[in-house]
């Protein structure tokens, strides 16, 4: 009996150990034993690996708006114009267009721009081009495709977020209304293909296709900034065949998931929640016609001073693109993505807040990271974060007159932006003096806003002028109470808001944080039920108009739902804005911008807090990186060296196997000990 029990015990113990060991062995050693997330075959390929956290919403270029949307659409859809990669301030260069068009003023006050497209620029190969039964797989990009894209922006059913901008096109609104009316009146019309519907209602009057390669767009009034919009995916040529084919019906793909562009890359794989792959598009005009030496198809030979020293001109004149593939891998959490970057599995990454102090010392990379071949790329974003006042408010707004102005100026003097950046952004950012950030025409690095100096004593003095000595409201005899409306209810967000509250408390004001979710906050702003708020803006295009319009009176948020969240209205400012908006960059425009900034300085509807600064990390095997301060496609300029990358990855990721062996040994030993003890017990009994 004893012998039998012992045998059983041994069997059970063995079984248990084996059962535990098998998964460990299979998973720990056999199934993996490498942390390399990529197939070995890709080691020698020029494949760029980038992480993304949230999946794209749509890849329809006329609709897509998020950063990850544009990371795909910006590289798959070529635009008529683009920005010179290395130059700052930004300069437009031709891409699919043969030249950057000049404004052609018309007698009736309208302005036209005529785009001539490159002949023989093809779309990527796609089955949709055989929709007519011709069996073809591609075709040249035509001027009519630009008209089609603009008509799609006007089509209410497409839901483009940039309708407001393109309403400046002559006949844009009317086209939209005719289209809706025809759809409502006639079900047969509504069942036609979108391109047929647009043709039936006559297209947009201000968009004229002059021949296969030429399209003219006419604006009701001068708006030079329109050209920037032709460097964005919204206006990229769209093939009607793609829209007609990928309607999501009867098993066909959705257009939002199936982009068909004429850019340097094509979408090769789209697993929205895990992996997006862009592969080099061999039908791109730059690859098919290197002899054209088109500005958007060769690496630039001019840039900013210092670019040559940084090695950014080494590839000058070489045909683009350099990469074979771009792999976007989804990492919903920041920490795993950053660890993978540190292991060499992502080629570039934003710096992780938690790792900042370990990696960056006094604004420069730590020496041990430099020794690993890491590089730090700093870019001031074309954006601004600001504290705004609701200028419709009786206490802090314009109606309060001089006391209100003095109160706003006092509150501005109380806020120390440098300290805020030090505490909450690891010093990444630049204290803002005005709405215009660096890199934007009109930004003056020597300009100092007198109310943007952190000076509590001056703030207290200004409060006396405002009629609130020591912050006391004479009506109540208590500290003046204000509401600080915020839309971030996270602990970190509230801590940031508390920084400002404490600053104002030091000059005697009682500012209460009213936190709500974003929708509720938006409702408050729409209804005008707010006093002080924190908001940010990142530019769509590099023009001062794209910042100064945030304070243009007719665009007041409460009155018109516009972007002027402070509801600031100043007739002089508004008149200057209209003049400035219609001008090309030059001394006259600069003078107007200065005058507008003086008005903002005096009226202080905003406390400009900071211009955010991006710290991006990359390894030395990645070349030609100059991160734009705008959300622009630039992957076609990047190059990388796979061999040193593979060597570094192997060096950094050699698995440490001994703990697995030790664990197995411990399990076996545990089984043995238990067995011996049991045996001893049984013998004793």
């Amino acid at each position: 009996m004893i012998r039998r029990r012992r045998a059983t015990f041994h069997r059970l113990t063995r079984l248990s150990v084996v059962r535990m060991a098998v998964p460990l062995l299979v998973l720990g050693l056999g199934g993996g034993c490498t942390n390399n997330p990529y197939p070995d075959a890709d080691e020698t390929a020029k494949v760029l690996y980038v992480a993304f956290s949230s999946p794209p919403k749509t890849l329809d270029p006329q609709v897509s708006y998020t950063v990850i949307d544009h990371a795909v659409t910006g590289n798959v859809f070529d635009t008529l114009l683009e920005y010179a990669y290395l130059e700052r301030p930004y300069r437009l260069i031709p891409a699919l267009a043969a030249a950057v068009p000049q404004a052609q003023p018309r007698a009736d006050g309208r302005v036209a721009y005529r785009f001539t497209l490159r002949a023989d620029a093809l779309y990527q190969r796609d089955a949709c081009f055989g929709i007519d039964g011709s069996g073809r797989t591609t075709r040249p990009v035509a001027a009519a495709d630009i008209a089609f894209s603009l008509a799609r922006i006007a089509d209410p059913l497409v839901g483009s977020p940039v309708v407001d901008t393109f309403e400046r096109l002559h006949g844009f609104k009317e086209f939209s209304q005719r289209l809706l009316a025809a759809r409502n009146a006639d079900a047969a019309f509504a069942a036609l293909r979108p391109d047929q519907q647009y043709a039936r209602v006559g297209g947009i009057d201000g968009v004229r296709v002059l021949d296969a390669q030429t399209v003219e767009v006419e604006l009701d009034a001068p708006y030079p900034q329109i050209l920037y919009w032709f460097a964005m995916p919204f206006t990229a040529p769209m093939a009607w065949e793609a829209v007609a084919t990928y309607d999501g019906r009867n098993g066909r793909d959705n257009l939002a998931d199936h982009p068909v562009g004429a850019g340097p890359f094509r979408l090769a794989r789209y697993d929205r929640l895990s992996r997006i792959v862009l592969a080099r598009n061999d039908d791109w005009y730059g690859i098919r016609h290197p002899e054209w030496q088109a500005p958007g198809a060769v690496y630039p030979s001019t840039g900013e001073p210092g670019d040559a020293a940084d090695g950014l001109l080494a590839a000058a004149g070489r045909p683009l693109p350099f990469l074979e593939r771009i792999e976007f891998r989804r990492d919903p959490e920041q920490v795993p993505a950053f660890i993978k970057f540190m292991q060499g599995y992502y080629d570039t990454a934003p710096i992780l807040r938690e790792s900042f102090d370990r990696l960056v010392h006094a604004g420069a990379l730590a020496p041990e990271q430099v020794a690993r071949g890491m590089e730090l790329e700093k870019t001031i974003t074309a954006g601004v974060y600001y504290l705004g006042f609701n200028m419709d408010d009786a206490t802090v707004g314009g109606a309060a007159g001089e006391p209100g102005r003095a109160l706003r100026q006092a509150m501005s003097l109380a806020v120390d932006a440098d300290e805020f950046l030090r505490l909450f952004a690891n010093g990444r950012g630049l204290a803002a003096q005005s709405p215009l950030p660096p890199g934007i025409f009109g930004y003056d690095p020597s300009y100092r806003n007198p109310w943007r100096v952190a000076d509590p004593a001056a703030a207290a003095a200004r409060l006396v002028d405002a009629g609130y000595p020591g912050g006391i409201d004479p009506k109540t005899g208590k500290p003046l109470r204000l509401t600080f409306d915020v839309y971030d209810t996270s602990a970190r967000g509230l801590l940031q808001f508390q920084f400002f509250v404490e600053a104002w408390k030091r000059i005697g004001l009682d500012v209460q944080v009213a936190a709500s979710d974003y929708n509720r906050f938006q409702e408050k702003v729409r209804s005008g039920a707010y006093q002080v708020f924190l908001w940010g803006w990142v530019a769509d295009y590099p023009d001062p108009e794209n910042f100064l319009f945030l304070l243009y009176g007719p665009m007041s948020r409460t009155a018109s739902g516009g972007p002027n969240t402070a509801n600031f209205a100043d007739p002089r400012y508004d008149a200057l804005f209209l003049r400035m908006r219609a001008m090309e960059n030059g001394p006259e425009r600069l003078a107007l911008i200065d005058e507008m900034q003086r008005i903002l300085e005096r009226e202080a509807p905003w406390i400009p807090v900071y211009y955010p600064e991006d710290y991006a990390l990359q390894f030395g095997w990645l070349a030609n990186v100059k991160t734009p301060s705008l959300s622009l496609p630039y992957y076609k300029y990047l190059d990388l060296a796979p061999a040193p990358r593979a060597a570094r990855r192997a060096e950094w990721n050699h698995p440490i196997r001994w703990p697995a062996v030790a664990l197995l040994a411990a399990l076996v030993a545990a089984g043995g000990i238990a067995s011996r003890r049991r045996r001893a017990g049984e013998v004793a009994s």
Binding site: L12, P23, P161, A256, P332, Q343, P655, A670
Partner: protein, 321 residues
């Protein structure tokens, strides 16, 4: 047994109908179709676009009652769609929901099936050994280890697992997913190990208790007295007689293998149905959420039914009447 099953199916259908009504109330009466359309199209969407979007999704009909055509309501549509598995399109991006389910099922099963099978093997094996060696050093260690494993949050396992096994020891990719057969095991290894660590403790303790309870019964002593070997006793008698509660525990889990592991999929970037559910929550995709809740209920009810049937297979004495 057939009569019992018919009754159970009838009750299940009634429960399912209740779930569908509850879903309708939650998703169509609390949030109006206009709210949903604005979430999908943005604040600036023109009224015409909102009207068209609502028409495309069938949200333009009267919600509960339509005097002119009583069957042409959102409620009837809602019930018909769910019952016929014609789930319609996502509120967020218009993708057919059935396509998303198909795409997510593979990644989910590739994670949950090995996790389930290895979990069963590990916990039953450990529990059986511990029960046999009751009071031994091995048993006490197993008890302590299981309590420790149970006491730690899954999130901590994930963070610690990624750090130790992915970063320090470099055994596995720290996150991500690639369904290519050559590399899929690399990506699943870490989440499966972490899932095992998080689940095994509780299951092992539960099964150990069952085995101990069974071992103390008279018939076990009789079996020994009649000359059965301990292995035969444990395998043929103890294990078999504890199968009913074990099956209850396991069979009920099987349907949920199909709905994915929400936390693991989300943290590891595995594009399964669990991650899809989280994505639907974050993206206000009510249509997808409705479907996932419905499928979850359906699978739960199916699991209950399967458990009852499994009883009769495991124990011939059980009669469903």
């Amino acid at each position: 047994m057939l009569a019992y099953l018919a009754r159970r199916v009838a009750w299940s259908l009634a429960t399912l109908f209740g779930v569908m009504l509850l879903l309708f109330a939650l998703f169509f009466l609390v949030a109006t179709p206009d709210d949903v359309a604005r979430k999908a199209l943005g604040d600036k969407a023109m009224p015409e676009a909102i009207a068209q979007w609502k028409a495309n999704h069938g949200y333009d009909k009267p919600r509960v009652w339509n005097a002119a055509a009583p069957l042409d309501t959102m409620l009837v549509d809602h019930l018909r769609r769910l019952l016929t598995f014609d789930f319609g399109r996502s509120d967020a991006d218009d993708t057919p929901i059935i396509d998303r389910l198909r795409a997510g099922l593979g990644p989910s099963l590739s994670l949950t099936v090995p996790l389930f099978l290895l979990g069963v093997l590990a916990s039953i094996g450990l529990a059986l050994t511990a029960a046999y060696l009751q009071g031994s050093w091995f048993d006490r260690s197993t008890l302590i280890a299981c309590v420790l494993l149970m006491s730690v949050s899954l999130l901590l396992y994930i963070v610690a697992g990624q750090y130790v096994l992915g970063k320090v020891l470099r055994w596995f990719p720290i996150s991500g997913f690639d369904p290519t057969p050559a590399v899929i095991a690399r990506f699943l290894a870490l989440p499966v190990l972490i899932g095992l660590a998080a689940n095994t403790g509780q299951d092992t303790l539960f099964y150990r208790t069952l085995f101990l309870d069974e071992r103390s019964r008279e018939y076990v002593r009789t079996a020994y007295a009649k000359g059965c070997s301990p292995a035969q006793v444990m395998r043929r008698h103890v294990l078999r007689n504890t199968l009913i509660p074990i099956l209850t525990d396991l069979v009920i889990e099987i349907p949920f293998l199909f709905t994915g592991a929400i936390v693991l999929e989300s943290f590891f970037g595995i594009p399964g149905l669990g991650a899809m559910t989280v994505e639907a929550m974050q993206g206000n995709d009510f249509a997808t959420l409705r479907v996932m809740v419905f499928i979850g209920s359906l699978l739960f009810i199916a699991g209950q039914l399967m458990t009852d049937i499994a009883y009769t297979l495991a124990d011939p004495r059980v009669r469903l009447e």
